[in-house]
């Protein structure tokens, strides 16, 4: 392998961290992952990142000089220019970690840092469901709810890299908490929000004597997760279907706001949308047609992300490529 021809992607999540290498993204040569364990602080994970990169290189008989660039994708807030991770909610012990400087010094290679919604937007735009779009919005719909905006073919960052924080917008005066705000988009529609809505729905179903597989989970004193609701929908559970239907309608309201303001050709939705597909996106699309201006609603496709489980890996590689 030629010197400096390898891209290294590091996708740091609250649960796991993945490291991938590629000479021509999105094709991945090799990959490892480990548990991030944020409760231990950043130190051990940073060591595992360095060792992991070295392991991937030596697996292929390569030297560190093969590295062209490193890309780090992780949750915000972060200082993209200086490359500093600033205690994102899912990595709250990672306070002001200068990961760019750390990796550049260690590997004598340039390193770029980007938040995961933006990196995911570029990955889907370049290699996934957003290919060929000039104006596209990528929605992350996991623990949180955020957007990455592609405007006129380029990732849009905003004045201080905060663009796309649609999860923080208030949808109702009161409601489930998300992003420190009651009734916010993240409160209603994220994985965390769906879990809150589900607990109330299951309690209401019980009172009416309606059975639902979700009740078993509560009886086992385990919290209901958005994933459980999704699985229950696929099993035909009526309570779970109602929860997802009302989530879908609220999702439609939010997307209609984005359609009226940004007039994108396509909205690509990751996370839950990939698993639930039309159960979630069908009702959302109907609300968009009703709520947004007709010329904008008509032109805008709403589709699940295409990169599936690979999205984090490919997103980190896009960061390594300088986006």
């Amino acid at each position: 392998m030629a010197k400096q021809s390898l891209f290294v992607g590091v996708d740091i999540g609250g649960t796991k961290t993945a490291i991938v290498v590629s000479s021509k993204p999105p094709a991945i040569i090799d990959r490892i992952e480990f548990r991030t364990r944020p409760e231990r602080g950043a130190g051990p994970a940073l060591r595992l990142i360095k060792e992991g990169i070295d392991d991937l290189l030596s697996n292929r008989g390569l030297e560190r000089t093969a590295i062209g660039a490193i890309g780090v994708s992780c949750g915000g807030p972060l200082d993209r220019i200086r490359g500093v991770i600033q205690a994102p909610p899912n990595l709250s012990t990672w306070v002001d970690i200068p990961i760019k400087a750390i990796l550049e010094e260690e590997f004598d290679s340039e390193c770029h840092v980007e938040n995961d919604a933006n990196a995911g937007a570029v990955a889907e735009h370049r290699f996934g469901a957003g290919r060929g779009c000039r104006n596209m919005i990528f929605i992350t719909m996991g623990t949180g709810f955020g957007a990455g905006i592609i405007a006129d073919g380029h990732l849009y960052h905003g004045a201080n890299d905060m663009a796309g924080e649609i999860g923080h917008v208030r949808l109702t005066r009161s409601g489930p908490m998300g992003y420190y705000k009651a009734g916010s988009v993240e409160g209603w529609i994220s994985g965390g929000g769906i879990a809150q809505v589900a607990e109330l729905a299951v309690a209401a179903a019980r009172k009416k004597g309606e059975t639902t597989v979700l009740a078993e989970r509560l009886q086992g004193r385990k919290p209901i997760m958005a994933r459980d609701v999704g699985l229950a929908v696929q099993d035909g559970d009526a309570v779970a279907s109602r929860i997802i239907h009302s989530t879908a309608k609220r999702l439609g309201q939010v997307l209609a706001i984005l359609v009226d303001i940004l007039n994108p050709e396509r909205i690509v939705i990751g996370g839950l949308a990939m698993r639930l597909g039309d159960a979630l996106l069908g009702p959302a699309r109907k609300v968009i047609q009703r709520e947004a201006l007709a010329p904008s609603a008509t032109i805008c496709e709403v589709v699940p992300a295409a990169l599936d489980e690979q999205i984090g890996d490919i997103a980190a590689l896009c960061v390594a490529m300088g986006l």
Copy 2:
């Protein structure tokens, strides 16, 4: 004057149409205006536009060959690429008027067409309160309520030139009508919306025996206009102040949504904001600080437009310059 060195701007509004010429915008060499009279259809106004351009040229002893480019700014919807005006609300008789083709044929010169919110955004960005900004939003706050978005230094159009239609976003489930939608941003915050809110407020004040200068207007069987409310505020009228204060808080809610999604350095507001200044913008700024994410709210300045009455003229010249 050298051949093809003159920019001609045509600003077509529902009330009046202005024509300006400039060899170096924003400096204006000469200007005329006439009443648009949309009730007569487009024909007479188009004739007056052609005659007006010729008059401005002959006033200065110039030939038509002096024209470098013509720019037309008017309300949407319009087909920007083909240059066709498609019956905007304030020019409803102008159905599919191919103004670009008409003026290009007449004057043998290129002609560009742009909607007024976008043209105003570029004018304020280049010559007004948005100078030096990389990311800016311009808000028109007149009969309607719309936005022009400058993203990474360039006007953002969206997939089919519909970006910035924030006036169509629903703010409450019910409320005053605007943009064919009850409770929309335009229903609550535009000049038309303020007039609706004012009628209710004056009726309520009367019941309580509270006096207000606005009541006189209603007794005279004249509708209350947003302008009347603005003037009454300047006269210290308590009812009018309350109307503007509640409008300002709703404006803050809307701007907070734009701040969270687009993270602009500056929001520049035309129309009513230029007249009311801090009476409107003060309370709106407070709501933004409370509702939007701190890093985005802190960086974003909210200011009145600087080009004042000249904004339409300079906007049309920016269109002539190809934006």
